[in-house]
Symmetry: C2
Subunit: 240 residues, 2 copies
Amino acid sequence: MDCQSPACGVDHRQASSCLACKVRLASVCASLSVDELELLEAMAQDATFPAKSTLFSQGQPAHSVYNITSGIVRLYKVLPDGRRQIVGFALPGDFLGLAMRDAFGFSADAIDDVAACGFSRPAYSALIDAKPHLLRRLHQFATHELTLAQEQMMLLGRRTAEEKLICFLLTMQERWGKIGKPSVTVPLPMSRQDIADFLGLTIETVSRTFTKLARDKTILIVPDGVRLMNPDRMALVAAA
Amino acid sequence: MDCQSPACGVDHRQASSCLACKVRLASVCASLSVDELELLEAMAQDATFPAKSTLFSQGQPAHSVYNITSGIVRLYKVLPDGRRQIVGFALPGDFLGLAMRDAFGFSADAIDDVAACGFSRPAYSALIDAKPHLLRRLHQFATHELTLAQEQMMLLGRRTAEEKLICFLLTMQERWGKIGKPSVTVPLPMSRQDIADFLGLTIETVSRTFTKLARDKTILIVPDGVRLMNPDRMALVAAA
DNA sequence: CGAAGAATTGAGTCCTATCAAATGCCGTGG
DNA sequence: CCACGGCATTTGATAGGACTCAATTCTTCG
């Protein structure tokens, strides 16, 4: 893997055991057998990205794909005048490299310290050709992402600021829950600006809406997150 | 194929020749050999849907997948209170059935008269298992859809009404162009309400924006479509 | 020709954006 | 330990773009 980012710390030793990988069962790798995992380890390059560094940028040739193993990544597009839309947050277990052809269609920044399992495009292609069940798994991931994207279109196009924020918090709770941290306290490592750019709002509106929900006793704002004080009422608002 | 829709006219004869299919090369079927196409013909069910009829509804068990061969379909989600978001328009060559698990995640209506090539889920699954290159093709389609969805998120979250409409018109021009109808006159078989629900606007705003663009001499409004009088200026606005 | 639906136009309002200022939060260094 | 500087966040005041409600005009089609 030729790492594109100056911030990228490539570990040129073999990836530490895939078998022991904490996110394996939640990732695309869940479709692989023990033998295949060993094969994978030989091809994978562990990479770490410090908080606020860039994994890759929109338009850059897409040399690698990544499996996020820890940390959180923001995926975003920008217009020439600077307007930014975050198209998703990648959590541990998520795969980066579905929606790109030769060049990346969006940029990706590490929000906190991120560890990822990288594969060069050639290695990735070879792997796909050799392992149809891996392709099936990738396709499952792609269709799942597509479903999420459609849900997000509904949110962006038709929901109010308060609904947007509530849906976002419930979605994050569910996503953290799926990777082993179910709790009414939802970690929010991203900034208010990130949340705004994900929900199609301004930072001020996000802040005001947080304040309003806190006054309502719907949520409790805690350092780097929120506690959901009334998930049922929130679910009612989110109900699709 | 058990057709779910009362409006659906299933043709229980074999599909008329896939080889002669006008949209084959633009569809998922482009990945198949002549032999495989013959196999496909045996499994496919031609179906027609009159204008304004429903192909399937959100939440309904997904028994079939479809290849659109003619006409245009709107794909949309609705909230309990009636707010609607169109997540896409399916044109000839497009495949319906990527983003669903057991149930359809969105509804689909024929806008004008639609012809489709239907496959039952079991037949579809069997086909995927037997033909890895078909799966690759489907995966290509899925990632392409994902890229479009991300572009749409940018549009819905960060663009103004005028930009939304301009981007929409250019996108439709390009899509019609790809299936063999390149022209500065862009057919718009869908209603203003459909366009509004696709762009996250109201019908009034869409109408006003059309009028404004026409006054600017940027477009010329014609029956069931528009003529782009200044594609360059439009492209400048759309530039991402 | 007339009815019904679709689209346009008009007037006024509201939600969210914008501009601006104050407050809070940390990490640094005296 | 605490003052300071820089940044993120919150809060306030105002403005504006899109929405809402309402009426008119245009199409389509029996």
